[in-house]
């Protein structure tokens, strides 16, 4: 067979929604050779996943390929009947999805699920299929594969589920593998292990792979060629090094700039022309005055613990201190107790043990139920992770921002309030004409701004940020991070930044605390901590972070080496 394995020509995909037809992919053309690994990068809504689903014909009912061709091994697969496509699925092309646990049938043992996939294309007995499945489990390096055969997805970790998913996808040795955000929901350390495995398997079996991701670093690290998409269109295509060092298209430039690296600073997150504007603004800020001697710490937390009826304690022993205007990062994998800690400090839940001193006064003993009456309430505010869930669907943006002002600053509805809300909106860069809108009429970034405006409306002194940018695209994240940094400088606001994204924490925070299983593992000045981790756990976290330009494309070949065999089994 000559020619590329997959050739997409002028692909158009349209969705019929309640607002009419929406064109999600508008004329994408790309090709993929056998054994090649292609990165398909873009922010949400760029059409990257739709392209993947259109290729494997797994689009939602509402979506339809309206124009273009998809040539697979020279055959236009948009023309073949659904029933014939079944032969291709799994056997010739397969797919790996985001959120591996949901992608597996929750009530069927994983061994059977792999066997199902095998049996759908090969004639063999159930016993043989089970044998084959076991081999595949070994191939994806699951520990105790015999035992895992009968396990159900809920009994496996996210990383293991993704391995099972990979086993299913490769079970019939397809020529094309499309991985749609395969590591997005996973912890950093797991991400790396899974990606390494995936790449090695693809290389071993000579499969062509399309890696669909929003993470430029990830694509840079593993792919030979990267394609950038924006709003359904393909804007740039190049080798990773070229793309990241010399992006040609404006969008790519912005994207590259906004992706944090091991060395980038907040100011670096925008393109050069915008940076000066930001720097000028920074310069206008007064330098922070040194605190007077004897001023108590803003926050002093000692031996905080939270236990629930069942299970191990969510937080076992947590102590920290921070001064006014300081920013502290709180990092750790999921389940490490970050969120619980942040809620306790915010006084939204009651700690089981320990003390919280705010401004030298104990606030830990006030029950969370009554804390809304405490004068300290307006000094500690919080910004939530998911902007979609953090705004009351029945409140307009104005109501959301006005709410704490009405409740905590004792303001009355009227012009003063209106001015104050508009002022807050302006500070976070939210156009005043968006204020009467309801959350569902705002974009993710706009919602995030409303959330921040609400939190700073009462001029708090401590702002807890619970993964404030986790759900945002990098370009939006860059803007939000700059905004937060600026607010900190302008208002002398202390930030407690909860995140799993080490790059972000490194940029944003003076100091960083690493949590694991509810205990502090390590803490210290951010840069020092990341440059020279003292514990194995922190080192693992740091190593796992993909960096743009950090690793050359050739790294993909390296990681297939013997070193991979002693990866942490998750």
């Amino acid at each position: 067979m000559t020619g590329p394995l997959l050739q997409i020509e002028d692909l158009h995909v349209t969705f019929s929604t309640r607002r009419g037809l929406v064109e999600a992919v508008r004329g994408v053309t790309l090709s993929l050779d056998q054994g090649e690994m292609l990165g398909l990068v873009g922010e949400s809504g760029s059409g990257k996943s739709v392209t993947g689903f259109a290729t494997t014909r797994l689009l939602d009912v509402a979506g339809r390929v309206t124009a273009g061709r998809i040539l697979f091994r020279g055959q236009d697969i948009t023309k073949i009947a659904d029933s014939d496509f079944r032969v291709l699925h799994g056997a010739a092309m397969s797919m790996i999805f985001q959120n591996p646990r949901a992608a597996l049938n929750p009530i069927r043992a994983v061994g059977l699920q792999i066997a199902d996939a095998i049996l759908s294309h090969k004639r063999m007995s159930k016993e043989d299929a089970a044998e084959e499945a076991l081999k595949l489990l070994r191939a994806v390096q699951i520990r105790d594969p015999e035992k895992r055969m009968t396990a159900y997805p809920h009994e496996l970790s996210g990383g293991m589920c993704q391995r099972v998913m990979i086993a299913i996808a490769i079970s019939c040795n397809p020529m094309l593998l499309i991985a749609d955000e395969p590591t997005t929901g996973l912890d950093v350390t797991t991400q790396k292990v899974v990606m390494d495995l995936l790449v090695r398997i693809a290389a071993d079996r000579g499969m062509a792979t399309i890696l669909i991701t929003h993470d430029l670093g990830l694509a840079a690290r593993y792919c030979q060629r990267v394609v950038v998409m924006e709003q359904g269109r393909l804007v740039e295509e190049a080798a990773p090094q070229t793309l990241f060092r010399h992006p040609r298209h404006a969008y790519t430039r912005r994207l590259v700039a906004a992706s944090p690296t091991a060395t980038s600073r907040i100011a670096d997150l925008v393109t050069d022309d915008e940076r000066s504007h930001y720097l000028a603004m920074l310069a206008a800020c007064k330098p922070r005055p040194a605190p007077a001697a004897g001023t108590p710490l803003l926050l002093d937390v000692k031996n905080l613990a939270k236990r629930y009826d069942q299970g191990p304690p969510a937080v076992a022993d947590f102590s920290m201190a921070m001064a006014a205007g300081e920013s502290v990062g709180l990092v750790g994998e999921s389940g490490s107790g970050k969120t619980t800690t942040s809620r306790m400090i915010c006084r939204l839940i009651d700690p089981s043990e320990g003390t919280i001193l705010f401004d030298g006064e104990s606030i830990g003993h006030l029950p969370a139920r009554d804390f809304h009456r405490s004068p300290v309430r307006k000094d500690i505010q919080i910004v939530f992770q998911d902007p979609n869930e953090s705004l009351n669907p029945r409140f307009t943006a104005f109501d959301c921002i006005a709410h704490p002002l009405l409740r905590l600053s004792g303001m009355r509805p009227g012009d003063v309030l209106r001015q104050r809300v508009e002022q807050c909106a302006q500070r976070v860069g939210l156009p005043a004409e968006l204020l009467p809108r309801f959350p569902h009429q705002l974009s993710g970034g706009q919602k995030a701004r409303v959330g921040i405006a609400r939190a700073i409306a009462c001029q708090p002194r401590l702002l807890v940020l619970d993964e404030p940018t986790a759900a945002l695209d990098v370009s939006v994240q860059a803007v939000v991070l700059q905004l937060l940094d600026r607010l900190r400088r302008e208002d002398d606001l202390a930030l407690l930044f909860v995140s799993h994204d080490l790059n972000v924490v490194r940029m944003m925070c003076d100091r960083t605390i690493v949590l694991r299983n509810g205990c502090v593992v390590e803490q210290g000045e951010s840069r020092a901590l990341f440059d020279n981790p003292q514990t194995a756990y922190t080192r693992e976290l740091v190593d796992a972070v993909p960096h743009i330009g950090g690793a050359p494309a050739a790294a993909a070949a390296q990681v297939t080496g013997p070193g991979v065999n002693n990866v942490r089994s998750l």
Binding site: C346, F384, C400, R454
Partner: protein, 282 residues
């Protein structure tokens, strides 16, 4: 917002002609309930024994009953009472259930467990028998039928509200409201309840039909509204006695009215669920 909802509603209705028909039916029912008594051709309780058991004709569109009363007029006039019974019964359990359930779902802990126990007790009752017993105990007046129906509905609403609130209690905007200085009490009342109401309204619409049937069942047993007040359930129950003698109109028309009303409410509830959450439609 309003226009968006409207547009969305229109979009849903176009895909669901049944819902549109049901909505029209409900509107018609309400109009009949309001204006019916003033437009009927005959006095619904005036007897005319010489005209008894006349089959449908031009003079009596739906025939006459044992006392020569015009079935059509009775049907039309009964609409108001039936709607009032259904709406007030469901309304009471809706309001009580939403408030109790919301607070329990939010508070959790001992109160929640206690109320949960109570709901368990209620659910363990054979509910129709409970309604019968209550009406028998309190006397078969309209208000007692309403109370009995409301009480047997209550546990469902409590559960529903509880579950709905429970999934939202730790959602960002609820925590934000608390961080914004809202007491737990007003978080439930001003934040959670308004957000739970639409889903409950769907439940309510489905329940309206059920409440009408419930009243009809009570009438069949003999524990319904007092005669000679026209009410569909009683009319069906009375008419059922004449099925075997071929006086079909006595059961057919009230039965049809009952059926259509319940059908409209059910389909409308279904459709409303579409409007709120297409995935959950059933």
């Amino acid at each position: 917002m309003a226009s968006a909802t409207l547009r969305h509603t229109v979009w849903i209705l176009r895909g669901n002609p049944l819902t549109a028909v049901a909505a029209a039916g409900v509107v018609l029912l309400i109009l009949i309930a309001i204006f019916g008594p003033s437009i009927v051709p005959y006095d619904p309780i005036a007897s005319n024994v010489s005209q008894a058991l006349a089959p449908p004709s031009a003079a009596h569109l739906a025939g006459t009953d044992q006392l020569g009363r015009d079935t059509f007029s009775r049907l039309v006039v009964a609409t108001r009472l039936d709607l009032v019974i259904a709406v007030s019964a469901v309304g009471i359990s809706f309001v009580l259930g939403a408030v109790i359930g919301a607070f329990c779902g939010y508070a959790g802990g001992r109160l929640d467990r206690a109320v949960g126990r109570f709901v368990d007790v209620m659910m363990a009752f054979p509910l129709f028998v409970l309604a019968m017993a209550m009406v028998a105990a309190l006397g078969n007046r309209v208000e007692n039928i309403v109370i009995a129906t409301a009480i047997i509905n209550l546990p469902f609403y409590i559960r529903f509200a509880r579950a709905e609130v429970n999934v939202r209690r730790n959602v960002g905007w609820v925590e934000a409201a608390r961080a914004g200085g809202e007491s737990n009490f007003s978080v439930v009342l001003r934040f959670l309840l308004p957000n739970v109401l639409p889903a409950m309204a769907v439940q309510m619409s489905l329940n309206l039909g059920w409440a009408i049937l419930n009243a009809a069942g009570l009438s069949f047993i003999g524990l319904g509204v007092r005669p000679p007040t026209p009410e569909w359930g009683i009319m069906v129950a009375e008419g059922a006695r004449f099925i075997s003698t071929g006086k079909w109109w006595l059961v057919a028309f009230p039965g049809l009215a009952l059926m259509l009303a319940v059908l409209c409410f059910n389909l409308l509830g279904d459709g409303m669920r579409d409007i709120l959450d297409p995935r959950m439609r059933t």
